[in-house]
Amino acid sequence: MGKPSDRCHIDTVDLGDPDLVPIMSILCILIPILIFSFVLYEIKVQEVALPKFGGGGGGGGAKLLTLAVLVTKDHHMIKIQSGTEEKDVREILLKKVKARVCAPTLPCEECAGEEYDEYDYAGLYTQIVKLKESKAFAEVDSINIGAEDGIPWKVMAKTIDAVRTKLDGTDLTNLCTYSRAKPARIHTTDADGRETATVIEMFPKIVFVML
């Protein structure tokens, strides 16, 4: 029989340090899986108003002034209605244009990617800016947007962008320069001295209409 000190220590079961290696392995697998499923893009929302269905009454002689953008398979059409009669309607047609696939790092002049037909969002934007700057639409904040049944949502989203926000830059007639322009902002300072930059909106109220 050993000494009293040996008896005391030898008979106890020594479990040793816990083996953390398998747990580490699981964690190392779990982290890349979670990162892979992680949302790395920013989700925002675009507001639209309830669609208008069917024609309503004229409204008792009040002057009608509406602006609508209609999207078809091969063009955009801006419809400006200043009255109830046919002669009061003006239309601006914007056909699809040729565009080139371009890496975002390349200057627009050097774009030499594949050529494809694209809606003329730059032309639409330019026309809408002109209309907004005119006296007639200076106070108007809503615009109707309609489309043919088969027009995909991605086209509608870009059309809404072209009419809603004002962009920075002078020559935005080219699709490449247009798509790279940043929204124009107004910088204001609140009572606490904090500076806030607000996007300048041309027609913030988007109303979907059925053709």
């Binding site: 050993g2 000494k3 040996d6 030898i10 020594d14 040793g16 340090d17 953390l20 290696v21 747990i23 580490m24 964690l27 190392c28 779990l30 982290i31 979670l34 990162i35 499923s37 992680f38 949302v39 893009y41 920013e42 989700i43 925002k44 929302v45 675009q46 507001e47 639209v48 108003a49 309830l50 669609p51 269905f53 999207v71 696939v101 594949e114 050529e115 494809y116 489309a147 043919e148 049944d149 088969g150 027009i151 995909p152 949502w153 991605k154 509608m156 989203a157 870009k158 809404i160 962008d161 809603r164 926000t165 962009l167 247009y178 798509s179 322009a181 940043k182 929204p183 979907f208 059925m210």
Partner: protein, 233 residues
């Protein structure tokens, strides 16, 4: 030759301490010394990884819309800057189904050249921004809700019956929840639509949702589309 299990000086040789135990104690001491000298300490590494894991898990669940993009679901890009709200009713419109409350409510029929669309077609279509000259990019995908799911079986109707019934249930449930919590029902709908979904289907969903409401409590009146921030940045 060196003897492996060398007896420890001073150890009792009357069967007191087995050699294996002494060897183990030596190994443990060696490991501890290594750790103290700046070797890899697995415990602190575990701590760091656990913190990272929790951070990732919390971040991934804080997304109110929890959108997973795949071949059938690709968000459109836009310059919009409004943040999505937590208290909206989300309707997911993929290239195959309309999903409400994590439950598929209506199937969407998709045809391409009079044949049913496949996931491979969708994957090829998703590459059109990089390769617009591909034949599939100029073809038209036709998406529609089956006439059996329309109001009175009329293919021209804008009301999608199964969606209307399910929305009615969800809205009533939300109103009851808001009342119990003393909140006002806002009636906000967030449409998480795939970028290829046609205007007609979007209008049918919006029109159906616009019909939902409880007298005196309000209905669904605000419509928002989820988009991926991009484009003019």
């Amino acid at each position: 030759m060196v003897e492996e299990n060398k007896p420890v000086p001073g150890a009792a040789d009357d069967g007191g301490v087995p050699d294996e135990k002494i060897q183990e104690a030596f190994e443990r001491r060696k490991r501890r010394l290594l750790d103290e000298r700046g070797g890899l300490n697995i415990t602190s590494l575990m701590d760091a990884i656990t913190i990272i894991l929790f951070f990732i898990m919390i971040s991934s669940t804080s997304d109110p819309l929890n959108i997973v993009q795949n071949a059938r679901m690709q968000l459109a890009t836009s310059t919009a800057e409004v943040r999505p709200s937590d208290d909206s009713i989300a309707i997911l419109i993929t290239r195959r189904t309309i999903v409400l409350d994590n439950k598929p409510v209506v199937q969407l029929n998709c045809t391409l050249d009079k044949a049913e669309c496949t996931d491979q077609d969708f994957e090829q279509r998703n590459q059109c921004e990089k390769k617009p000259s591909d034949a599939i990019c100029s073809k038209e995908f036709k998406f529609e809700v089956d006439k059996q799911d329309k109001e009175k079986g009329d293919p021209n109707s804008l009301v999608i019956e199964p969606l209307r019934k399910e929305l009615d249930r969800v809205v009533k449930q939300q109103i009851a929840e808001d009342e119990a919590l003393g909140r006002k029902f806002k009636g906000v709908v967030t449409l998480i639509a795939d970028r290829e979904v046609p205007f007609r289907v979007l209008m049918e969903v919006i029109y159906t949702a616009g019909k939902i409401g409880v007298k005196g409590k309000g209905g669904l009146s605000q419509f928002r589309f989820a988009i991926m921030k991009g484009g003019n940045e």
